[in-house]
Amino acid sequence: MWMGQTETTVLKLVRQETLDATPFLEELRAYPSGHNIKNCIQCGVCTASCPLSSEMTETPRKIIEMIKAGMRDQVLSSDTMWFCASCYYCTVRCPQGINLAEVMYGLRTIATKTARNLSAAFYQTFADTVRRYGRMHESDLMVRFALRTSPLSLLKMGPLGLRMLAKGKMSLGLPSAIRGAKEIAKLYDKVAEMEGGV
């Protein structure tokens, strides 16, 4: 009995130590809510609350355990974070206070650096559009996104685009930049510099 208890405690400590030392968990500490991922108790409330968990190859609960296990490549190549709609159900319900929606942003940010998929291309095109004009312009964004991914999809978007034009919800005019567009570009550069890029 006594021996058994000690063994359990020791094993727990060893396990905890290992988890804390996982390089991937360490890497995620640099992102919002990365510090408390290890508090996950695998209750599954996140998966049960997620409107899109049924579409994911790995559910949110599982992805957390994979992070804790240091399965960096498998996590980053999963489609889980690209299905997150930022609805924050998991975040407000997590009994351990993990902001899982933020963790998903962190995973996307890391994955975007290497990922070649539709979602990563969309967010990157969006970010480029904002850098260019200081604001988002739907028509400009959609055209650039299509050219970046599959130019043929422009044809598919045509009918809705035309109806949007008719309703005045989109314009064909050249997008104009805000007066402070230079400030925006400077912020992009400054942040890249601070993050050690450029």
């Binding site: 899109l52 930022s86 970010a127």
Partner: protein
């Protein structure tokens, strides 16, 4: 009730003064004043939200002054590509709002969360705060701690108040069966003073203008937001479920408080019908359009014609 009484701002300010450090001399009616961040959608796909919010709040004594030369908050795209930048872009907007010296009003749910997310960082003492401030210095701007940020729905519900709203109604929408749909980012993750899973603010506002608010259990379920672009198949399903419950509850139209929700439910409704063999014909309108219409503002100025599914037939009986 005269129309001049309707727009008297005195009552509002007496109930809840919001203007910071305003010296209101005796006899000069103070105005509830905000800086206003419309965001990109309200300048393009959701112009009717812009106009209806600005006009109806003005009629209720709330002055919205657009933030000069505002930039995109970055929405979910920036938080998916770079953490620091996703705080820095909204922080520029907060700096501009602080320069203007008024609290900040936001109408779009997505902008509301994005700005609050950066605001929370600026309110704390983390290294993120230092880094954000450091980046802003590169363009000669500063931001001092937290900015007060309010959703326009909360301004309507709390600053104007239900009593004043009820009194200002000229065209009560009696018998109009409306499903209130909040989407996710009004009440989650708890930036507004609302129940994250069961908010009631829009229900109360719609009731105050006479509408028959139907029970709508999916009021805070997700519409998929921007995933409509990248994960269309499943997002169409989410929206079909939203439309199905509204119809089952006998709603004539759905009221929303977010341009993303409006776009997904309205512009894609035809596609949903094609895909699922359904025949939904449910107009998706902003709460502010209904409020303005009830206040006596014209159907035209509230932009009802801009919806893909026309709302006109439901409003004709009140004209």
């Amino acid at each position: 009730m005269t129309s001049s009484k309707k727009v008297s701002p005195v009552t509002t300010a007496a109930e809840k003064p919001r203007r910071r450090g305003a010296s209101t001399a005796e006899g000069v009616p103070p105005v509830v004043a905000y800086s206003f961040f419309p965001g990109c959608s309200l300048h393009s796909t959701a112009r009717e939200y812009h106009d209806s919010v600005v006009f109806s709040l003005a009629a209720l004594g709330v002055d919205l002054q657009e933030v000069d030369d505002w930039n995109c908050c970055g929405a979910t795209a920036l938080s998916s590509t770079g953490t620091l930048l996703s705080y820095v872009l909204p922080a520029r907007v907060l700096a501009l709002a602080q320069e203007a010296g008024r609290p900040l009003a936001v109408a779009c749910n997505s902008c509301f969360v994005t700005l609050n997310r950066a605001n929370a960082v600026l309110d704390g003492q983390s290294e993120w705060r230092e880094r954000v401030e450091n980046a802003l210095r590169a363009i000669g701007r500063t931001v001092q701690g937290a900015t007060e940020i309010r959703h326009t729905l909360s301004i309507l519900r709390e600053d104007v108040g239900l009593k004043r709203l009820r009194q200002a109604v000229q065209r009560p929408l009696y018998g109009l069966r409306v499903a209130p749909y909040y989407g996710c980012q009004f009440s989650r993750p708890r930036y507004a003073d609302a129940n994250p899973e069961l908010p009631v603010e829009m229900d109360e506002v719609l009731e105050a203008i006479g509408a028959d608010v139907v029970r709508y259990d999916r009021k805070t379920k997700c519409c998929g937001g921007a995933l409509m672009t990248t994960k269309e198949d499943v997002v169409l399903q989410l929206n079909e479920q939203l439309l199905r419950e509204a119809q089952a509850q006998g709603a004539e139209l759905i009221a929303v408080c977010c341009p993303m929700c409006q776009m997904n439910l309205d512009a894609y409704q035809g596609k949903i019908n094609n895909r699922f063999g359904t025949r939904y014909n449910t107009p998706i309108v902003y709460y502010s359009q209904l409020v303005g219409f009830a206040l006596g503002l014209s159907e035209e100025s509230m932009g009802f014609s801009r919806g893909f599914v026309p709302a006109t037939r439901h409003l004709r009986r009140y004209a």
